[in-house]
């Protein structure tokens, strides 16, 4: 029998599974579909904004937590958060650049500079004075002119937009990012791409290209070599190729540590006895199958995955275990002001120090742990805090399990 079942394959689920497997446990990971890493940008946010952009997230955490006492980060010291994020970076050193305490500025799909903590080597901003923004006309959803114009406003650079004509495949007029990423894994295509880019750009310090620079190869480094200057990947709308690379690296690491991944079935129920979860029910093809374990880490995400549900009466519920949802009984869950903070967004599950979900003042179950987006108190997308919360809570839950708490 498996020691621990992890539910969810986003950063929190993969992180918990990896930490537990490293700690010597047998782990089964249950996930309905692929996790959310591909829908992020392949970066690891810790804290990007506390109203204003944050330069040094760990230094900023005490003041942030003081202003947000119910935030998941309020459970951790800044050094705990940093240790968890550093651990993640060390797991996949080829994919993530080790952090030095400061946020990196990374260009978004619109040409704004977003602060994030861990970046991939292809995203390190070289602080250029002049930038060439180049995109193939046949790639969906990357607009060099828009990006360049906004970069001039947001990054203090002189940016020039250029286009190249290079279909990823003959005759294809609007390729998906993954098609370009695969094409750029081919050295011959990469050479043509580099040649056309070199022909159109000027003497700019750096080249900004769409985030499609190789699926299985480091096309970014090869292009930088060919163009003789730094090349940076800009984010695109999902699906994110850098996110795909991160997801594949972490999943491959998990399977190499013998984490058993069961993809494609939804957890629809559970059995509990004596204050403990005994098993969960997986809705498999043909039948419901019961999976038992000693501990359970629940990392399903929030509203985005259906783990939190809002009905037409304004009731918020947690869909699987029926855990109490903090903040759900407020009258003003949604206000009419689009730009205002919505109380609904901060609803979620409350936990103790070991990440066990609380029913009142005590854990709902002795062996159930929660990590990631289900936790109450954060508005991950405006704070740019979701990845840090996911990794830190996953590590905290796994360590509590490994300590036998």
């Amino acid at each position: 029998m498996t020691d621990t079942i992890v539910i969810g394959a986003g950063l929190a689920g993969l992180g918990a599974a990896l930490r537990l497997a490293q700690g010597g446990q047998t782990v089964t990971l249950l996930t309905h579909g692929l996790g959310g890493l591909q829908l992020g940008q392949g970066t690891i946010d810790v804290l990007g904004y506390d109203d204003q952009p944050v330069d040094r997230p760990f230094d900023a955490l005490p003041a942030f937590v003081a202003g947000h006492p119910d935030h998941p980060y309020a459970r951790f010291t800044p050094s705990q958060v940093k240790a968890a994020v550093d651990w993640l970076a060390e797991l996949i050193p080829d994919q993530l650049v080790a952090g030095d305490g400061a946020n990196h500025p990374v260009p978004t799909a619109l040409g704004a500079m977003r602060p994030t903590y861990l970046v991939q080597p292809s995203m390190v901003w070289p602080h250029p004075t002049t930038v060439a923004v180049v995109g193939p006309r046949q790639l969906r959803d990357f607009y060099p002119t828009l990006v360049a114009a906004n970069l001039e406003r947001t990054a203090g650079v002189t940016a020039t937009a250029y286009h190249i004509d290079l279909p990823a495949r003959p005759g294809e007029a609007d390729s998906a990012p993954v098609v370009y990423a695969t094409a750029l894994d081919d050295p011959a295509f990469l050479k043509r791409f580099a040649g056309l880019t070199a022909k159109v750009i000027g003497k700019e310090d750096a080249v900004l290209l769409p985030g499609v620079l190789g699926h299985r190869t480091n096309a970014c480094a090869r292009l930088a070599e060919a163009l003789g200057r730094p090349v940076v990947e800009a984010h695109l709308a999902p699906p994110s190729i850098p996110g795909l690379r991160l997801n594949e690296a972490l999943t491959a690491l998990a399977t190499s540590l013998r984490v058993r991944v069961i993809l494609g079935s939804k957890v629809t129920g559970f059995e509990a006895a004596g204050g403990r979860v005994a098993a969960v029910t997986l809705h498999q093809a043909g039948r419901d199958q019961v999976y038992a374990a000693d501990q359970f880490v629940y990392a399903p995400g929030g509203f985005e995955s259906g783990a939190l549900e809002l009905d037409s009466y304004g009731h918020v519920t947690e869909a699987l275990f029926g855990l109490p949802v903090l903040g759900a009984d407020r009258e003003d869950l949604i206000t009419g002001d689009f730009w205002a903070d919505q109380a609904l967004f901060a609803t979620g599950v409350g936990v103790d120090a070991a990440m066990r979900p609380l029913a009142g003042a005590t854990p709902a179950y002795d062996n159930l742990y929660v990590a990631g987006g289900l936790l109450a108190g954060a508005v991950r997308w405006t704070e740019k805090s979701g990845d840090g919360i996911a990794v830190t809570s996953a590590v905290a839950a796994a360590d509590a399990i490994l300590r036998g708490e």
Partner: protein, 407 residues
């Protein structure tokens, strides 16, 4: 009951399209879209085009979907993308089903025709001018992998067979599938011998085809008849597990016939809940401490490919876990999406090149890990991998059979 190819019958799958958030995860994982611009991808032909169909086909690139089911498997929102596309394709092809697709989906017919004259049939299939003619006349690519006919069917072997040891635990029903009757006779035999070796009494009802090849070619009426007949045939020995050595056919019984064709049949529901892939069954025994582990070590490193229709059952990769119980044996998951055959897709002359490109990462892995021997749970995938790499490709039960010293 609605017309099977109508949209109404598939109302649940259609309802699921509103759960599509356009995250495009399916596009990043689709093995066909990755290798050809001829297919515009699961999201476009699925949840997006479906909104405009109203019974009419709006995007004929749908025909290039291989029905591997990867899109449904990876969708985090539970959209039944592959199911939607299979139904839409059946509607699209309904009035002009190619003769070729009618023929290649009749595995039983092929087996019946070939096995009495096995050496001749195999000779013809290995004869280049005959394959050239088949491509021109029927539309089966001249290089496509074809099964090898056997002189003795599984049933003929089973009739003369007596178990080596008397049973010590309960009964199981064996579902061999039509390929297991005519072409993969060794796999069927070894499955029976392993089950008997660990103490089960094996019951083999007379059985036909599950209809999966017809379903994936859009021939729904015939496929439904087949799956219903098979369900009735397998619905014996109530409560006992039905053990399958054909992973894709097990998936047909477990969920595909109901989810894709809306087959509403009580025997299918019962049988679908009782079917276990043989590795799934043995692994569950192992987890309960009920599988003998007195294996002879096998000093081997082999690549393993989990077929799409096994992954689609949402139970992980049981063969991978099971084979790792054999000492000395190193099993490496090829981590490939699809081998490219997708049942009969990769046989078709216009899709052969696509199928080969889909399978290339897998073929490369097989050559890299062990160019002599690979492991895979489904027969058509084994034929495809073997033809492309020259490796012998066996069902996982072959290695268990050997490790139990049953040769």
């Amino acid at each position: 009951m609605f017309e099977p190819t109508s949209h109404e019958h598939n109302v649940l799958a259609r309802a699921s399209l509103d759960q599509c958030v356009k995250c495009t995860i399916c596009e990043t994982q689709c093995p066909v879209m990755a290798v050809t611009p001829a297919f515009s991808g699961p999201k476009f032909v699925g949840p997006q085009a479906e909104r405009y169909r109203h019974g009419l086909s709006v995007d004929h690139s749908l025909d290039y979907c291989s029905s591997c089911g990867t899109c449904t498997l990876v969708c985090p929102q539970g959209v039944q993308i592959a199911e939607l596309n299979s139904v839409a394709r059946a509607a699209m092809k309904k009035d002009h089903m190619p003769l070729r697709d009618q023929l290649i989906s009749r595995t039983t017919l092929m087996g019946k025709a070939m096995h009495p004259v096995a050496p001749i049939a195999n000779g013809v299939l290995g004869f280049a001018p005959a394959r050239w003619a088949m491509e021109k006349v029927v539309g089966i690519h001249r290089k496509a992998a074809m099964p090898t006919a056997r002189s003795q069917t599984f049933s003929a072997w089973w009739k003369k067979h007596t178990p080596a040891t008397p049973p010590t635990r309960g009964k199981v029903v064996f579902f061999h599938g039509c390929a297991g009757e005519y072409f993969e006779v060794e796999t069927s035999r070894k499955t029976v011998e392993v089950l008997e070796h660990i103490g089960f009494e094996v019951v083999v009802p007379k059985q036909g085809c599950c209809g999966l090849p017809m379903q994936s070619n859009g021939i729904f009426d015939a496929a439904r008849d087949h799956v219903k007949k098979l369900s009735a045939a397998l619905d014996v020995e109530p409560g006992t597990p039905i053990i399958a050595s054909a992973a894709s056919c097990a998936g047909m019984l477990k969920h595909e016939a109901r989810e894709i064709m809306g087959v509403d049949d009580p025997a299918l529901v019962t049988v679908g809940a009782r079917v276990r892939d043989v590795s799934e069954f043995l692994l569950a025994l192992a987890e309960q401490g009920e599988l003998p582990l007195d294996f002879t070590p096998l000093d081997l490193t082999v690549p393993y490919h989990a077929p799409c229709q096994l992954k689609g059952q949402g139970m992980g990769k049981p063969a991978l876990e099971l084979l790792r119980l054999i000492p000395g044996l190193t099993v490496i998951d090829a981590e490939a999406t699809c081998c490219g055959i997708a049942g009969t897709y990769g046989l078709k002359k216009e899709k052969y090149a696509v199928g080969q490109a889909v399978g290339k990462p897998l073929f490369d892995k097989v050559r890299e890990i062990n160019p002599q021997l690979a492991v895979c749970d489904t027969e058509t995938c084994r034929w495809q991998i073997a033809a492309a790499t020259g490796a012998q490709v066996v069902h996982p039960v072959w290695l268990l059979h050997k490790a139990y010293g049953l040769e």
